[in-house]
Symmetry: C2
Subunit: 301 residues, 2 copies
């Protein structure tokens, strides 16, 4: 199958839409809560590839014909969740990172207590964005409730947060490959899976389409993490926008530690090929999803 | 008006129902995420008066006739939000409290990183509980989405979290009465307001009923905070389950600091009388709400 999408142009276009929408979600200017909003905006609007919201939009558009205006609040919700997880993850009691996306981390600028609260507020705001009244959206109440459930499960105790706990508990331990897979399946995979499934639900995917999309998401989620591990070893601080080589320093086990860098790269490519196979019954509207899969392992940050 | 409800028996009965339901919301026994669940359970099931979930149930029952089974997930969601806020609030970077509800705080038992993540997971779980599929609830999708929106707004940037930020920013500052009121309106008031409004929405309150219930909630929210401030000054460590006199030690301004202890008590009583007045058009099914109002300022912890 040949793909007709210029993925760089597509990503840039979608990223701009998401970024613009994100600038509108918090009240502007003089407001009682302005100090909190500053901290939230700092992390939410501080760059980022917007992979998860773009996955939601691209998936919805692969099966349905909703307007971008209807999709953006849900796409933005995924970015709120992702951003909050980074803010909390960077805290001194967690990964203790000073840099993120090429800038100081939230707590380095606003202090630790504000970073905890800005994260809490971003997490909560994701659900505010998804539960707008019917007068403001044409999504339909049944899909809205389904989407909220997917988001909560993907982000919560049996999803991303569960993965963070597994990750913390395995630091400086000699974990096996199965444990590594479980960590990443939850920590990174579940939110990517939710992003895709939410897009599918919003777009009105059939049950079998949603099954295929879910498998696509699991494949690219794994590839995404493998690519992250490889980049952490091979990228520079300039490319990554954060310190490089930190996994090894912290004694974190990674895919290259099990497979070598080349072996990990091959594994990532296999995942991507499988992901694209999952979409064989989808028409040209799924081209952005196909290209996104390939982009995940070719990226430099 | 004479009230026919034995409030102590009512509270105990409802508390047991809420507590029992809360024991069922997390998977039991051998589970990959058991360490996280231990930390979540420790705080979620570690006592507490369950004021917010009981307000939700009592409000729903004041206007409608839903089964307790239908109400419990939403009532429990409010307790999840309240509990997460306590876990994060107790962190060393926040209030740095060692005791809560008569036991060590979450981070003293499980460590700070687990406490951050257990809080995140409890917050997220609140929305999982509210977004169960229609097959598991008879609430109705329209009410479900409304409830989720109320919860997100009440708990988030323009609600409880916003209030936490105001509180932190005013520590050791000579704040005026207006600022004190704003802090408490957001930090405590908005979630109590959400608990009551959610009950009203679930029970099918009319617009004018929901207006009256909202005012009732604002009155008892203020009374609740005044009573908390008074108890912090007059209660013992045994009564409170946490250190007493901590507000004064931290230089926190409180209602007794502005009005004196007796003046604050009088103000609290005025709020309660006004709250009960708000319900004058409600029938005997609102008796628990009337008694709850009175209970708020008579409590010892």
């Amino acid at each position: 199958m040949t793909c007709s999408v210029d993925i760089q142009a597509y990503l840039e276009q979608q990223r701009q839409k998401v970024d613009h929408f994100l600038t509108t979600v918090l009240p502007d200017g003089q407001n009682l809560h302005e100090p909190l909003y500053q901290s939230m905006r700092y992390s939410l609007l501080g760059g980022g590839k917007r992979v998860r919201p773009i996955l939601t939009i691209a998936t919805a558009e692969s099966v349905g014909s909703l307007s971008i205006e209807d999709l953006l609040p849900f796409a933005a919700a995924l970015e709120c969740i992702h951003t909050y997880s980074l803010v909390h993850d960077d805290l001194p009691v967690m990964d203790n990172d000073d840099f993120r996306r090429g800038r100081l981390t939230n707590h380095k600028v606003f202090g630790e207590s504000m970073a905890v609260l800005a994260g809490d507020a971003l997490l909560t705001m994701a659900f505010e964005l998804c539960s707008q009244p019917p007068s403001k959206t044409t999504i339909g109440l049944d899909r809205q409730v389904q989407v909220i459930y997917e988001l909560a499960v993907g982000a919560g105790h049996d999803g991303m947060v569960g993965g963070q706990v597994l990750d913390i508990q395995s630091e400086n331990k000699d974990i096996d490959l199965l444990t590594l897979q479980a960590i990443h399946n939850y920590k990174t995979g579940r939110l990517i899976r939710a992003a895709v499934r939410i897009g599918g639900i919003l777009g009105g995917a059939t049950t079998s389409q949603l099954d295929q999309l879910t498998k696509y998401a699991e494949d690219i989620g794994l590839a995404f993490q493998i690519a992250d591990d490889v980049l952490n070893m091979t990228g520079t601080r300039e490319e990554l926008g954060k310190d490089a080589g930190t996994d090894a320093e912290r004694g974190k086990k990674t895919y290259p530690a099990f497979y070598g860098i080349e072996g990990a790269r091959t594994l990532g490519e296999q995942c991507i090929n499988r992901a694209i196979q999952r979409l064989e019954d989808f028409d040209h509207r799924a081209d952005p999803l196909r290209e996104l899969a390939a982009f995940i392992i070719s990226r430099k940050n």
